[in-house]
Point group: C2
Chain length 353, copies 2
Amino acid sequence: MTQPVSATAHRIDAARLREWGTRCLAAAGMTDVDAAQLAASLVQTSLWGIDSHGIALLPHYLDRLANGTIRARPAVVVRRTAPATAMVEADQGHGIVIAHRAMDEAIAIAREQGVGAVGVRDSSHCGAIGLYARQATHAGCVGIAFTHANSVAVPHGGQRAYLGTNPIAIAVPREGAAPVCLDMATTSIPWNRVRNARREGHALPDDVAVDAEGRVTTDAHAAAAVMPLGGAAFGHKGYALALMIDLLCGPLLGNPYGPHIPPMFEALDAPRRLGALFIAIDPERFGGREVLATAAERMAVELAAEPGAPRMPSDPEHDHEAERLRNGVPVEDGLATQCRAWSERLGVRWPEP
Amino acid sequence: MTQPVSATAHRIDAARLREWGTRCLAAAGMTDVDAAQLAASLVQTSLWGIDSHGIALLPHYLDRLANGTIRARPAVVVRRTAPATAMVEADQGHGIVIAHRAMDEAIAIAREQGVGAVGVRDSSHCGAIGLYARQATHAGCVGIAFTHANSVAVPHGGQRAYLGTNPIAIAVPREGAAPVCLDMATTSIPWNRVRNARREGHALPDDVAVDAEGRVTTDAHAAAAVMPLGGAAFGHKGYALALMIDLLCGPLLGNPYGPHIPPMFEALDAPRRLGALFIAIDPERFGGREVLATAAERMAVELAAEPGAPRMPSDPEHDHEAERLRNGVPVEDGLATQCRAWSERLGVRWPEP
C-alpha cells in the first residue's frame, strides 16, 4: 500500500505529529487515552510507509467524529460468549480503538485458553490491520486479523464492484527483531491508488482495474473497480479470499457485507457498521514462542543469503520506519492544508515543519 | 488446481473407485476405517475436479505406505494443551487421516469453548485442505485450515525455490447448498501443472514460473520454480502469505519449514515431517449459524444477478461433482497403468470401465 511520496511533501517529526493528532482527537471529544492510542496508531502506520492508512486519514476521521457517524465516546460492551470467544459491541466507536480492545481481549483469552477469537460488531474503519496482528506478538502470541470494507472490487467473472478490499493480517514474533507481519488487501491495489493516478495523470499497472463495462483498463479515469489479487488469470483466488473474509467479518458477526456496507467517503452521514475478527494463539500451547521466534529469525537470515536476497514480509516497512523516524513523516500539500484547517477549527497548534 | 482431462481418460464410477481404493489401502496395512476415510477423501477430491490432489495421488501414497515413510498404523496421540487447543502427534501417519482427526478435535473443542485450534506434528501430505474446512461446516462450524509443503516457489525478490505452495482454506455453511469453501495454494499454479505442460508440450501461462536464473519464463522445460500469487508485480502478497503459513504450520508446531521439509516425490525414503493448523469456530457464539448460512446463500443469489454472473468460490467444484457422479471419475492412461500394477501387487481387482 506504500504510495510514492512527492518531493514537496512536508516532513514532520513523528512525536510532534502524534502529539498534534492526540490533541485534535481529544478536542473532537475522544478521551485522552483513546485519542492518544488512535493518534499513535496513525503515526505508526505512516512510519511504516503505509500512507493510505496513516495520518492521511485523520481529517476523514475528524469529519465523522464531528458529524457523529463515529462516536467519540461510545458505550462499548465486551461480552464473553464462551470460554474462548467474545464479541465487542462497538456502538459505532472508532474502529482503531475498538480493534485494539478486541485484540486485547483475544490475547487475554489466549493466555487462559490457548486461543481466543473475538468478533467486532457495529464498528468503523479500523486502519491497517497489521497493527492488531503485531499487537498479539507484543504479548508473545501469534495474531491473525481480518476485516472487510465497502464495494470497490469486481468479483472474478463479474463486471462491477461487489466486495471490498477485505484484508488479512498474520504476525508472529521474531527473535531480536520486530515481528514478522503480513498485512495484505485481497486486491492487487487499493482504490486510493486509482484516485492518486487520476490526480497525477498516471496510468495504472496492467491487470489491476476494470472500467464500467468490466473490461480491464490502465486508464485511471475509466477505472470503475479494482480487480482481485491474481488479475484476469488467477483472480479467482483473491476474489474467493475476499468473499470468505467478508462472510467472517460481516454475517458471522451480525454485520452487513459487500454492497450493503455504507461506503467510507461517499456516505459521510451513515455509520459504517463494520466488523472485524481477531484471533490470538499462545505459542506456548504448541511448540513454544522461542522456537517460533528463533525460526523466524533463522528464516530471515537464510533468505538474505539466497540469490536475490529476498526479504521478510514486513522488512520494507521497518526500513521506512527507520528513515521516517530520522527525517520525519511526509505530509503532502493537500493533506497539510486539511490539517491546518482542522487545527484552526479545533484550536490546536499545527506543527509546521 | 483443476487440470484439463484428456479425451482418452477412463471414466470410473466413483463408488467403485472408492471401494477399490479402500481395499488397496487396507491391503497396504491400514485399518479398514482409515482406508475407507482416505479412499473416500481422494475420490471426493477427484469428484470436485481437483485431479492433482485426488485419486491420482493414491499410487504415491501406496509407495510410501510400502516403504514405511507413511505409517499405515501410526501411534497417534492427541494432547489437549489448553482448554481450547490441542496437538496431534501424528507419528508419520497418513496426513489425510490425521487431518480429519485434528479437525474433529478442533470441532469438539469449538463446541465447548467457542473456538478450537489444533496443530499437527510429524505428519505427511494431507491432500486438499478444503476437505477439513468443509468438515467443520458439516458440524455447523466455520473451518479454517493451513498446511505447508516443500520448496517449489520462488520468494518475491528471489531467484530460486524456497517456500512451498502453502495453501489456506476457509469454509462456512450455506443454507440449502454445499458449504462455501475457499481452498487455494499461495502460488498461481501448482508445480504439477509445470510437469503436465512438459509432458504435453504446452507453454505455461505468463508470469507464473521462473527459470534456474530466476527469470520469468513460459517454457515449461526451463521452469525451475513457480511464482507466488500476484506474479512479478504483486507477488509480494502471495509470498508473504505463504511465508506466514509456513511459520504457522512449521516452527509454531515443532515442524521444519521451507527448504528443510523433505520433498514429496524426490525423497521417497524420507518421512515428510509436515504440519498443519486447524481452527474451528462455533458461529452460535457469534451471530449464529443460521444468519451466516442464510447470508451466504443470499450472497450467491445476489452475485448470480450481477452482470457477468460471478459464482461463489466452490461452485465450479460442485459442477464437476455433479458431472462426475453421472459420468464417472476420469482416470488418465498413465494413472490407470499405475493403478493396475498396484492392484496386481496387492491382490485387489481394478474396476476396469
